[in-house]
């Protein structure tokens, strides 16, 4: 089925919305704002998957969209919300690296991923190329978020955002088997559960979720 120009453009626009949410994640400093932005990114991701299902005529991508909507836009943010409230850290304001520098690094990473993806995928279809560049940028922004944040919860959100980028790449490439996506979705849930347990363990042991404090920790020897 030939894909019209408009379909391309819509796909790119939704992909750009996911990327914007990635930048917004870098910009936000309060934990609840980060979680809300993450939920928005997941909704945009679900929209991207649903649109790809529509234009590629691939009904199984609707399941991917549903998985993204239920797991990543609802269950994970709600669970993290609950955790943050339970741990009593909802007032934490992060001042890791200055936001301006982080955003600039983010733009540099987007440029890098474009420079990387375009020459590598010369033979691929146009739709896939631009979407891949977007998805790669989302992945790199997720990594950047994991590097620049101190708090364990925001690092986990960075990890999940990275995973959003992977799904964005997967749905824009044709012929990704459904079983892979389902297993990714469930592994994210499992990871989520493990992270939750770890949050409590770290808190119990060190009285903080700031991972910088852990780096200087020398066990019981002082």
């Amino acid at each position: 089925m030939p894909i019209s120009q408009l379909s391309y453009e819509m796909a790119h626009l939704i992909g750009a919305a996911v990327l914007m949410a990635g930048f917004q994640l870098l910009y936000q400093r309060r934990l609840f704002a980060v979680l809300n932005t993450f939920a928005f990114q997941a909704v945009a991701l679900a929209a991207a998957a649903a649109w790809q299902a529509h234009i590629q005529n691939a009904p199984h991508l609707y399941i991917t969209a549903g998985l993204a909507l239920v797991f990543k836009a609802m269950i994970v943010p709600f669970a993290l919300h609950w955790l943050v409230e339970k741990l009593g850290i909802h007032r934490t304001v992060e001042t890791a690296m200055s936001i301006g520098w982080t955003m600039m690094a983010g733009v540099a990473l987007v440029a890098l991923s474009i420079l990387l993806v375009l020459p590598v995928t010369v033979n691929a279809a146009a739709l896939t190329r631009e979407s891949l560049a977007l998805a790669m940028s989302v992945v790199l922004l997720g990594l950047l978020m994991m590097i620049t944040r101190h708090n364990a919860v925001t690092q986990v959100v960075g990890f999940m955002a990275l995973e959003n980028g992977l799904i964005l790449a997967a749905v824009s490439a044709k012929g990704m088997p459904l079983v892979v996506e389902i297993s990714i979705a469930f592994s994210v849930l499992v990871a989520m559960t493990l992270f939750g347990i770890f949050f409590f363990r770290i808190r119990e042991r060190f009285d903080t979720l700031d991972l910088n404090d852990l780096e200087t920790y020398r066990g019981d020897r002082q």
Binding site: E9, H12, M103, E130, L134
Partner: protein, 315 residues
């Protein structure tokens, strides 16, 4: 001849409509806050009242203080005359472009800041220094947006850009989306709306624009407030014209085209003003030290828009 008529209509329309738009934003905000609010016509009455009043000038004020309201209003009015609102058939359209628009707004801001410092009160100087800080961040972002729009359409003239987009020269483009978000952020900063500045505040330590015009009264104050209202209309015309140009009158459609364009412009302003009121109600003012992050974000979005332009060209 038609172009001259179109231009004259434009010149009077922006000034006539500006208080109504501001009044509408205030009304919607009041309703959202659970207040009844004044009629949207209230700004007209305010300006009429101010024009009746005597203009008091401080002893320490120089001629700069007296000239600033006229220069500011003239610069903003001139800037508003080159952004098509209801028709692209305008006499002055080839005379100026987006770069000139940024420069005109810069002139207005420069004079307002000078006036703020002229009297020598603490508030005026404080407001002027903050205004200049915001300007140093917002202007590059605005220029970046202009560059990406110009790269897409191959011209810096707002009229030409609108005609280009109207002819289907550009589809739904990632760069356009990014430029739109960046332009909205710049517009919020330039007009002193929440989260950058609170337009409803008076005598508060965080005020920016109000602090500079604190010493004005009478017709001077009316001009300063009018300039702010026309600036808001200008940005609505710019956003509505470039990103939703449908309905605008083009040369050759005559009076019917202009009427349709007028209706479309009113509808766009209505939507944008209501959206602005909702946005301002939902969000809190940010700290002064976070302006750099907000406007730096706008600059980077403009930069991203340009970057993605090269991607879609390479594909």
């Amino acid at each position: 001849m038609n172009a001259v008529l179109g231009q004259l209509g434009q010149i009077f329309l922006v000034v006539a409509l500006a208080p109504l738009i501001t009044g509408w934003v205030r009304l919607v905000k009041s309703r959202l806050n659970g207040r009844i609010g004044a009629s949207p016509l209230q700004p007209y009455r305010d300006i009429y009242r101010l024009l009746q009043k005597e203009a008091i000038v401080a002893h320490s004020a120089s001629w700069v203080f007296r000239a600033a309201p006229y220069v500011t209003f003239a610069a903003v009015w001139l800037a508003a005359c080159i952004i098509p609102t209801y028709t692209t058939n305008m006499f002055l359209a080839p005379a100026a472009d987006l770069i000139a628009l940024v420069a005109l707004l810069g002139v207005a801001r420069f004079w307002t800041a000078l006036a703020g410092m002229d009297v020598g009160t603490a508030f005026g100087g404080l407001g002027a220094s903050r205004e200049m800080m915001i300007a140093s961040l917002a202007e590059p972002a605005m220029l970046m947006v202009s560059f990406s729009l110009s790269l897409i359409s191959g011209t810096t003239s707002p009229t030409q850009i609108i005609v280009f987009i109207l002819d289907g020269g550009v589809g739904i483009e990632v760069s356009m989306g990014l430029a739109l978000v960046a332009l909205i952020m710049v517009a919020v900063a330039e007009n002193g709306r929440i989260p950058i500045d609170n337009p409803a505040t008076h005598l508060e330590l965080t005020m920016v624009h109000e602090a500079m015009v604190l010493e004005y009264s009478g017709r001077h104050l009316a001009l300063m407030e009018g300039a702010g209202m026309v600036r808001l209309t200008l940005f609505m015309a710019l956003i509505g014209g470039i990103f939703a140009p449908w309905g605008i009158g083009v040369p050759g459609t005559g009076a019917a085209g202009a009427l349709v364009g007028l209706g479309a412009f009113l509808a766009k302003c209505f939507v944008l003003a209501t959206a602005l009121a909702f946005f301002e109600t939902a969000i809190a003012k940010m700290r002064v030290f976070r302006y750099a992050d907000f406007l730096g974000g706008a600059l980077l979005l403009g930069l991203l828009a340009t970057i993605f332009l090269y991607v879609s060209e390479a594909v």
